[in-house]
């Protein structure tokens, strides 16, 4: 489809949605609408929106959907596990008993939703060893922010609010950890990696002090490396008076194998849209499930669900609560889907999924490293990686000038959607981080490997072709034009028209 922008479509007078004509009894009692609105605040000119019929709107967005590759192809988007999203859960979420629920309804009228919240809370407690979960955080980063806020409230409650203003993390942690810490008004102390792939205990010992508020760390990291000293880390931070937060974004490979509690953490976070089968929606609505031990429960944002007999009740949070990080319950319909996913998997299924994701990653690593030009981070580190491995195409680039983004673009031509490269900063050149997970068949994984092999060959035989990829997508790759130029960027059609002199 050579699809126009919706702003360019339509014709005057067309309607895609009519509304009821105001009832005569209503109009008779209150008069016309204009008379009910303060003159100064009435809209003078109607917004410049398209005027389209319903079938035309539908068809336009059907076209755009078909122009989106996503999970219809193969997507091994690392650091953000791609999962099967059971369609049953979507059917359930479409029912009035979910879609048409107001979050402020009386608890007696939302016992079903509360049961899902409580049930998932129970399951995640089993999986983490924590004592209470909240699902208010509307994403993984928001859960990190929740931790930052709780850290703030915790130390304030102990009279150390002004003093403990540093949060320690590693350069390999997800950017949301330092970013949310900074937003919550902390100084961020970032530890660098040593040759083993994680910061040394000495570096940590040097970093802690009476200003230490918390440690926020993931393990394993995105390179598939597990820090075996993590218990010592937690001890060191605890002894310094700080809290320890476990960013469990990479939970998929270790589900049922390790728990935050046994490692000593005070809190942890799971991403329901990542590990628990909830669709990502191109970037949310998401849920960062935040769980903590007894000592932090008083600080949790409300509302929380409690069970009283066979009824569920609502606890709005006590005096120490941080209040809210987002209105209401969070993305509660996604909590329902995650609950369903856990129930369908059961303990054995979770165990199997973790096994499979690690097994497949190591299979992939073995096969990918056979491709000339592919290397991995920390090549000398022995043993199996976890559910991901950080690879590099630096050698290929040196040899051919074809970079990682070129390869990504070219792979899309084969129906393979983008891999994740690596979060900033990059430690190795031209990094890439595919994640096999448990939903892709061995055939899919073999196909993916084959596509990369082929593209690497193409990079040698016809580097220009790869550099100008994609060739089979809806549109070609972007120019190198500076999108950060204020005279060029345009996040709306009206800005674009002005900047290009068309309006």
């Amino acid at each position: 489809w050579d699809e126009p922008l919706v702003m360019e479509m339509g014709a005057p007078g067309r309607r895609g949605q009519l509304f009821p004509v105001t009832e005569k009894s209503v109009a008779a009692k209150v008069g016309d609408a204009a008379s009910l609105l303060p003159a100064a605040l009435r809209r003078a000119e109607l917004p410049v929106l398209p005027e389209m019929s319903e079938p035309d709107v539908l068809r336009h967005y059907l076209h755009l959907s078909q122009q989106t590759l996503g999970m219809v192809g193969i997507s091994l988007f690392g650091t953000c596990t791609m999962k099967y999203n059971p369609r049953l859960h979507e059917r359930l979420a479409a029912r009035d008993e979910v879609a048409e629920m107001h979050p402020d309804q009386h608890p007696d009228t939302m016992q079903g939703l509360l049961e899902f919240v409580y049930g998932l809370d129970e399951a995640l407690r089993v999986l983490s060893g924590m004592d209470q979960f909240t699902f208010q955080a509307a994403g993984g980063a928001d859960a990190a922010y929740t931790q930052a806020c709780i850290t703030r409230a915790y130390h304030a409650s102990r009279g150390e609010g002004g003093q403990r203003n540093q949060i320690i993390t590693s350069i390999q942690s997800h950017p949301c950890n330092p970013a949310t810490s900074a937003t919550a008004g902390f100084e961020v102390v970032t530890l660098m990696l040593d040759e083993k792939g994680y910061p040394s205990l000495d570096a940590l010992r040097a970093a802690v002090s009476d200003r230490t508020a918390a440690l926020m760390i993931n393990n394993p990291d995105d390179m598939g490396i597990y820090n075996p000293e993590i218990k010592e880390w937690v001890d060191i931070v605890h002894k310094a008076g700080g809290l320890c937060f476990y960013d469990h974004a990479n939970f998929n490979g270790v589900m049922s194998k390790i728990r935050a509690r046994e490692l000593g953490f005070d809190a942890c976070m799971f991403m329901l849209h990542k590990t628990f089968g909830v669709p990502k929606g191109g970037g949310g609505p998401a849920v960062g499930a935040y769980g903590c031990t007894e000592k932090l429960i008083p600080f949790l944002p409300g509302p929380l669900v409690r069970k009283a007999g066979d009824r569920f009740t609502v606890d709005e949070g006590g005096p120490l609560s941080i209040g809210k990080v987002r209105e209401y319950w969070g993305n509660i319909h996604q909590v329902m889907k995650a609950y369903g996913w856990v129930r369908s998997m059961g303990a054995e299924g979770l165990h199997e999924a973790s096994d499979t994701s690690v097994l497949l990653n190591n299979y992939m690593e073995r096969e990918l490293l056979k491709i000339p030009g592919v290397t991995r981070s920390h090549p000398d580190l022995e043993g199996w990686r976890m559910e991901m491995t950080r690879f590099s195409l630096g050698e290929l680039f040196e040899e051919t000038g074809v970079g990682i983004a070129d390869v990504q673009n070219r792979m899309a031509d084969y129906g393979v959607d983008a891999f994740w490269m690596a979060h900033e900063p990059w430690f190795i050149p031209h990094p890439f981080t595919p994640e096999a997970g448990e939903m892709w068949s061995k055939e899919d994984i073999d196909y993916w490997i084959e596509v990369l092999r082929k593209v690497c060959e193409e990079a040698r035989s016809d580097p220009e072709m790869v550099k100008s990829a994609p060739h089979n997508q809806v549109v070609a790759k972007l120019t190198a034009d500076n999108l950060d130029d204020p005279d060029r960027w345009a996040t709306t059609w009206r800005a674009h028209l002005r900047k290009t002199g068309k309006r």
């Binding site: 699809e3 105001t22 008993e97 879609a99 703030r152 508020a213 218990k231 987002r326 497949l360 994740w420």
Partner: protein, 467 residues
């Protein structure tokens, strides 16, 4: 097949033969061997105390449906709840589009492979920009409250000031979120919220506002319509006063009102924020929330956005495409040096809203706005006729209004309980959050409420309020 072991439907490689084949390839006997990096002392070796798996869909479906049947929805009952989540009609085409697998399940691709989704996002920001009258619109954030939080932080960075004036009558939920965004571990970094009181008409007291404005003021934040449903008639004066004090004006709007109400840009707002939930997204128990941030397209503002910014762009073949601008200033680009943070948000809802706005078009927004205003006033008029019940403000609202039951001698809780027994979810109870308003509730009336529904409400209220 191995004895009794069944492959799980979600896991193609759990077929026993396949798994064995993979293990063989790696030369290991059990997957367990692959976890060698983890010290034994770290391992959890107990059985997970989870309920048994419901891995047959027929059982799972029934289990889930049985739980859901314990809900009573606003479709089965007549609901007047609003406040921060509203029951508007969601056209079936919106559901159809966001349910498409292509939009529902992916995470992120390249500008070429995700072209269609990026265009849909651009159509979201472009149409929302027309509604609010601004040229710069970010991709959505979690919620209205989060949008306000970010906008206030933008203003603080822009002005270097740390005090923000906010309405006394602000949604307590939204306020709780804002307070978190303004607090700081380092007290020097905190932003202070200062309340501006309302006048008798339920709008900001301009005199009080003027007295509070100072060179410390980073921004004035107000809403239109405000939390009590009233239209801020002094919007232009407020923005002018803020500007005079060197402060930014941040306006929170309900975008569904913008077919009949003036866009914030027209009365001097610098930044507009609000909820996208009314624009074609089901309430879903609050799971339908999403927030937006918009402003003039000036580098000064652009450089403070924490959101992703999806810009029109050009391909090497000269085609129109889309790409992210100013990515370096996000947390992905700059970690703790970035503007606040970003991450997974509510981007699927951006698509639903884009579809919604395209379906309505200018005439649909106008028609919808007029209908809501009329029905809301009709409801208020009927309710106001009931003995002991007062509608606090004599008009000037959009879809919500405050009803005070103090004169009935009954609490809101009692009235709402009686209504609920009659299939009606009464308005939001304001009595705890705002004792100054007495036994008040916030009633929300939209296009889903027919005149007959409102007549029924009035009759039922008359019945339950009778001594």
């Amino acid at each position: 097949m191995d004895s009794g072991v069944r492959a799980h439907p979600y896991m193609p490689n759990s077929a026993p033969g396949l798994k064995a084949e993979l293990l063989d390839t790696l030369g290991v006997a059990l997957a367990e061997e692959l976890f060698g990096q983890i010290p034994e002392s770290h391992r959890f070796r107990e059985a997970l105390a989870l309920p048994p798996a419901l891995n047959s869909e027929v059982e799972l479906s029934r289990h889930m449906t049985a739980i859901l049947s314990r809900n009573q929805s606003c479709a089965d009952n007549l609901s007047f709840l609003g406040g921060g989540c509203w029951q508007h009609y969601v056209p079936a085409v919106c559901d159809e589009i966001v349910g498409r697998s292509e939009f529902l399940t992916p995470v992120w691709g390249t500008p070429s492979s995700d072209f269609g989704r990026n265009q849909a996002w651009f159509e979201f920001t472009s149409q929302l920009g027309e509604l609010v009258g601004f040229e710069m619109v970010g991709l959505p954030v979690y919620s209205w409250g989060c949008a306000v939080g970010h906008a206030i932080r933008m203003a603080a960075r822009l002005t270097g000031r740390r005090e923000v004036l906010v309405p006394q009558h602000l949604d307590p939920q939204r306020r709780a979120v804002i307070e978190n965004y303004c607090a700081a571990a380092d007290p020097d970094k905190a932003i202070r919220l200062v309340d501006v009181k309302s006048d008798a008409n339920g709008v900001l007291d301009l005199g009080a506002l003027g007295a509070l404005l100072s060179e410390r003021t980073a921004a004035v934040y107000f809403e239109n319509p405000n939390y009590l449903g009233q239209i801020e008639t002094g919007a232009a004066e407020i923005a002018a006063a803020a500007r005079a004090a060197g402060a930014e004006t941040i306006v929170g709007v309900d975008p569904i009102s913008l077919g009949v109400l003036a866009p914030p840009s027209s009365y001097g707002a610098d930044i507009a924020v609000g909820s996208i939930q009314p624009l074609g997204i089901h309430m879903s128990g609050g799971g339908g929330l999403g927030g937006f941030i918009a402003s003039r397209d000036e580098p000064r503002y652009a450089h403070e956005y924490p959101t992703l910014l999806n810009s029109i762009a050009t391909t090497i073949k000269g085609e129109r495409s889309f790409g992210m601008t100013l990515m370096h200033q996000s947390s992905y680009g700059s970690r703790e040096e970035g503007k606040d943070w970003t991450g997974n948000s509510t981007y699927l809802w951006a698509i639903s809203s884009a579809v919604y706005m395209a379906l309505l078009g200018p005439q649909g927004f106008r028609e919808l706005g007029e209908l809501i205003v009329q029905r809301a006033h009709y409801a208020a008029a009927l309710i106001g006729e009931i003995d002991g019940v007062t509608v606090r403000h004599d008009g000037g609202f959009f879809k919500e209004f405050v009803v005070d039951f103090s004169g009935t001698g009954l609490t809101v809780a009692t009235i709402n309980e009686r209504l609920r027994a009659r299939g009606i979810f009464g308005g939001l109870d304001l009595s705890r959050a705002f004792p100054d308003l007495g036994q008040s509730t916030l009633y929300c009336v939209t296009e889903i409420h027919s005149a007959a529904d409102l007549d029924r409400l009035a009759a039922t209220l008359r019945e339950v309020c009778a001594r």
